[in-house]
Amino acid sequence: MNNKDFINELSKKVSLSGKETEDMVNGLLATITERLQNDDTINISGFGAFEVKKKMERLSVNPKTGKRMLVPPKLTVVYKPSATLKDKYK
């Protein structure tokens, strides 16, 4: 399902126009991003949690050239599905 389908479905669900829904979604994503930037964990009951995690720097080797690279540390968003959701797919 791509972004368009998703917006369409959502607009049906909340009975708003496509445009309105899209704006709302963008607003929601902006809010989430802002929270994540502030190092907050976002818990959505029944769905899971979004969290910012720090990945350590590491050495990696290019298998073709054999060159060693030092990959810098970075922050990434991590999603942890809730227990209920996890069980569903197990």
């Binding site: 479905e9 976002i42 959505i44 769905f47 690279m69 540390p73 959701l85 797919y89």
Partner: protein, 363 residues
């Protein structure tokens, strides 16, 4: 979740109930979509996917029996590039570094890491308009902290940057012009939790020792200031400006002292402080360099006049060590080699009897 709904409602100017419904619908739909379709792509956020984990064998830790972990499905989330970039902003200045030597040894890695740390520190300090001497002072502790140091420093950047942003918002023109180590240290301590403090404590101690070593009589400002400021900055952001002003004053007071002190040569550091491995290796390199420089000159400036003593080499001895024992300096080993007509200076072995020559200056 309620927080998120409230924030979303405020941002969109809609009622809380409405935003609640919307947020719920949003995540419900993701769940439904995952059931229907295996992937969901939301632009500006990321891709949710159901991936299959194939079955694999494992060993029970307690009984040592082999058993099979059955294959199952798992929800994966890959953040969108734009989201990734936004989240990774504090670390955005890092690039992948290609290591030149294919078989680069541990030492080189350490040096590389230290270099990264240095770059980080410099970038930080550049951004904050620090005077030259401060930059050097800031980079040097970073070098001394071996492997853990880069990590700590990098970790530290996050809160600091954030702090800076906040400061800019509140006190636009009050930029931290004169920044010193205390100020660098404090925002970090405030924002990160225990592990961060522990990690940074090490750095701070190094800085403190540094300060103590070079200021001798004036070592008290750092530890004394610290508690006050932590309390201050922890209070709401509005007060951040106050504390910055305060630290600025303090740093101005301290700054002249740091300027007065000459920047220490790297080689001095390890001897005065029992510092980690990295600096030791650095200094050894330095030492070797110097050895190479000096030994040639020295072998020409002395003449050997007779045998001082005969020395039997023991297991853990080296030429430099023997030289150090008899002449008080490591540099004189070439004389021993020459006098004993050793073809290969590396061919020293246990039980060898060396004649230690008496050295007399030509001048």
């Amino acid at each position: 979740m309620t927080d998120l709904c409230a924030a979303f409602a405020a941002q969109q100017n809609i009622s809380k109930a409405k935003s609640d419904v919307f947020v719920k619908a949003f995540f419900e739909l993701i769940k439904e979509g995952l059931e229907k379709d295996d992937t969901i792509k939301i632009s500006g956020f990321g891709v949710f996917k159901i991936i299959e984990i194939s079955s694999r064998e494992s060993v029970d830790v307690n009984t040592g029996k082999r058993f099979e972990i059955k294959g199952h499905k798992k929800i994966s989330f890959t953040p969108d590039n734009s989201l990734k970039e936004i989240i990774n902003k504090p670390f955005a200045m890092f690039d992948i570094v290609e290591l030149e030597d294919e078989e680069g040894n541990e030492e080189q890695n350490k040096v590389n890491k230290a270099a990264i740390a240095t770059v980080t520190q410099e970038k930080e300090t550049d951004a904050e308009d620090v005077t030259g001497s401060d930059t050097i002072e800031a980079t040097e502790p970073a070098k001394e902290e071996t492997v853990p140091a880069p990590a700590v420093v990098k970790e530290a950047i996050t809160p600091e940057k954030k702090e800076e942003i906040k400061v800019n918002d509140n006190t636009k023109n009050e930029k931290t012009k004169k920044n010193d180590n205390t100020e660098v240290a404090i925002p970090q301590k405030v924002q990160k939790s225990g592990r961060m403090i522990a990690g940074f404590g090490g750095l701070f101690v190094a800085v403190a020792i540094f300060a103590l070593f070079f200021m001798k009589q004036k070592s008290e400002p750092n530890p004394v200031e610290q508690p006050n400021e932590i309390v201050k900055i922890e209070t709401p952001t509005v007060q951040v400006s106050d504390s910055i002003v305060k630290t600025e004053k303090d740093s101005i007071q301290e700054l002249p002292q740091t300027i007065e002190q000459p920047v220490p040569p790297v080689t001095n550091a390890p001897q005065t402080k029992g510092t980690p491995v990295c600096i030791v290796t650095l200094s050894e390199k330095e030492m070797n360099k110097r050895l190479a420089d000096f030994s040639l000159n020295d072998t020409l400036s002395f003449v050997t006049t007779g045998v001082l003593v005969e020395h039997t080499v023991t297991a853990d001895e080296t030429l430099t060590r023997i030289s150090n024992k008899y002449y008080g300096t490591k540099k004189m080993w070439p004389y021993i080699v020459k006098y004993n007509k050793m073809g290969n200076p590396n061919g020293l072995c246990k039980g060898m009897v060396l004649k230690i020559p008496v050295l007399q200056s030509k001048n």
